[in-house]
Amino acid sequence: MHPIVVRNVSKTYPSKRGPIKALDRATFHVKEGEVFGLLGPNGAGKTTLINMMLNLLTPDKGDVRIFGQRPGPAVLSKLNTIAGGSQFHWAMPISEILAFFAKVYQIEHPNERIQELASLLQIEHLMDRKFRWLSTGEKLRISFAKALLNKPRLLLMDEPTLGMDPDIARNVRKEIQRMNKEDGTTILLTSHYMHEVEQLCDRIAFLYEGRIVDIGKVKEVKLKHFATYDVIMTLNKAPSAVLVEKHGLRVKENKVRATLKSEDALSILLAEVHKAGYRVKDIALKKPTLEDYFIKIMRKQ
C-alpha cells in the first residue's frame, strides 16, 4: 500500500472573477520510503495538494488516499507536516508548545524526545523563550521540531528550509536523509531550492497550472529534456581545423566548448586531443541541473 495515492484529482476554487482551476486531473503516487519532490511555479497547485492530504481541503473530483485511507484524524496521527513560515501561539514558551504537541501525538517519552530534537536542531537555548521573540530561522527550527516529534511515517514538507541559515538547513537536510534511510520515513517535499530537491528526492513531479506535466526519477526527467551536456576545455594552443570540424567544437582562442551525448564521447574527445599533441590546462563539465530543467519546462509550457 503506497503512503500517498492521488487519483484524477481536480479542484476549482470559486472566485468573483470566475472559477480558478487549482488542480486538473492530477495523478501520482508516492512509494513507501521514497523522497518525492513536487515542483512547479507559484500557484501550480502544490500547496492545494498538500492541503488535501492534510484534510483541510476536499477534491471536487478524484481521490486522495494516505496509507489507503481518506485523510482524516485517524491517519493524520501517522504523519506530520512542516511549512515555511509556520506560526504557533505567540505567548507560549517553546517548551510548552512542544509539550502540547507531544501530548496531542501521544508520544511515549515526551521529555526525552523533545530533548533529542532540541539538541539536533540546536534549540536548547530557546526552550524558555516565547515564540514571538524568536527570529525567522529560529521559528522554523521550532516548526521542524514539531514536525519530527512523532517520528512520522510520512512527512509532508512545504518549503521546509525557506529562510534557514545554511548550516541549519544542511543539518535539516541531513536529518531528512537520515529519517528516510534509517527510519524509512516517506517524504513529500516542495521546495524552490532546486539543489535541495536534487540532493534529497528520488522522484519528482512537475506541476503546472494544476496539471502534472512531468514525473519520474530526477536523472530520468533531466535526461528526457537534456540529452546532451557541455564540456569546456582550455588547451595550450588553439585546436586544428580538423579537430574542430570532427567534434563540432566552438573555439574562442585556446578555449573550446563541445556538446556531447555520452560519457564515452568525452573519453574519445580527450584521447584525440591528447593524440594531436595538445595539453589540457583546464576542463569543466556543464551538466544540466534541476534548475535548468525547471526553467526549460516553464518555457515549454
Binding site: Y13, N51, L56, L57, T58, P73, F88, F101
Partner: protein
C-alpha cells in the same frame, strides 16, 4: 472520540491564560465590576421601587454568565486562528468535534469560576439565589448549555465565512439578549417583533430570573420549557458545526483561514 485530545486542548488553554494575563483581567473585571455597579444600584433604588434594581442585577448576572461562557469558547478558538495554531492542531489528528469540546470545557471552567464569584457578589447584594437553591443551579446549567450551543454555532459560522466574522464572537449574544427581554416582559415589545422572543435561547431564563426576584414560585414547567428551547439550540448547533467544516473544506475556506 479521543478524550486525551480534549484534555490536551483544555490544558493548553489554561497554559495560554497563564501567559496572557490581560485575558484573565478582561474575562473577570468587566462582568464583576458591572455586577457590583448594579448591586449598588439595587441597594440605592430600593427606596424608589422595591425590586427594580434587583431585577436588573439578576438579569445582568444571567446575561454576563451566558456571555462569558459563549465568548470565551469562541475567543479561545479565535486565538488559535489568529496565531495560526488551529492548522497545527487539526492536522495533528485532533477532530473538529474533539477540538470544540475542548474549547467548551475550557470556557465552562472559566465561566463557572467567574460565575461563582458573581453569584456570591449578587447574593451579598440581596439577590435571592440561595433562597431558590437547586432552581438557581438548574437555571445556571440551562444558561450554560444555551451559551455553549451558541458558541458552537458561532464557531461554525466563522469557519464557513472567514476570519472577518470574528466579531460574532463578542457581538452575537448582545443581539440575542436584546430580543430575549432581559429586564422586562416580552409583552412590552412591539407586536411585530414580539414573536422573535419565543425563539430566543434566553427569554425563558430571564423570565425565571424575574420570577425569582418577585419571590414567585418557579415551576418545573418553567424550567422544563427553558431547557427545551436550549436543547433545540444544542441539537441544531452540532450538525451545523459539522456541516460548516465540510463546506469550508469544499470551498477552500478551512485551508485559507488556517494558513
Amino acid at each position: 472520540m479521543n478524550l486525551r485530545h480534549i484534555l490536551t486542548i483544555v490544558w493548553s488553554d489554561m497554559l495560554i491564560l497563564r501567559h496572557v494575563k490581560w485575558r484573565l483581567i478582561e474575562m473577570s473585571l468587566f462582568p464583576i465590576t458591572t455586577l457590583i455597579l448594579w448591586g449598588l444600584f439595587a441597594v440605592y433604588s430600593r427606596q424608589y421601587a422595591a425590586e427594580a434594581g434587583m431585577l436588573v442585577l439578576v438579569g445582568n448576572l444571567l446575561w454576563s454568565f451566558a456571555h462569558l461562557a459563549q465568548q470565551e469558547a469562541n475567543m479561545l478558538m479565535m486565538e488559535d486562528l489568529w496565531t495560526f495554531n488551529l492548522r497545527h492542531i487539526l492536522v495533528a489528528g485532533v477532530s473538529e468535534v474533539e477540538y470544540m469540546l475542548g474549547k467548551l470545557c475550557s470556557s465552562t471552567a472559566i465561566a463557572v469560576s467567574v460565575g461563582a464569584v458573581m453569584g456570591v457578589i449578587a447574593h451579598a447584594f440581596g439577590a435571592p439565589l440561595a433562597e431558590y437553591g437547586m432552581t438557581t443551579l438548574l437555571l445556571a446549567v440551562i444558561t450554560l448549555l444555551g451559551s455553549l450551543a451558541m458558541a458552537v454555532m458561532i464557531a461554525g459560522t466563522v469557519i464557513v465565512a472567514g476570519r472577518e466574522y470574528a466579531f460574532l464572537s463578542w457581538s452575537t449574544l448582545h443581539f440575542l439578549v436584546f430580543f430575549s427581554a432581559p429586564f422586562f416582559s416580552p409583552s412590552l415589545l412591539p407586536a411585530g417583533i414580539r414573536w422573535i422572543t419565543v425563539f430566543m435561547p434566553f427569554t425563558r431564563v430571564f423570565e425565571i430570573g424575574r420570577a425569582m426576584v418577585a419571590h414567585a414560585p418557579v415551576t418545573g414547567t418553567m424550567l422544563g420549557s427553558a431547557f427545551l428551547v436550549v436543547l433545540v439550540y444544542v441539537v441544531l448547533a452540532w450538525p451545523y458545526y459539522l456541516w460548516a467544516y465540510r463546506h469550508a473544506r469544499k470551498t477552500g475556506m478551512l485551508a485559507r483561514i488556517t494558513t
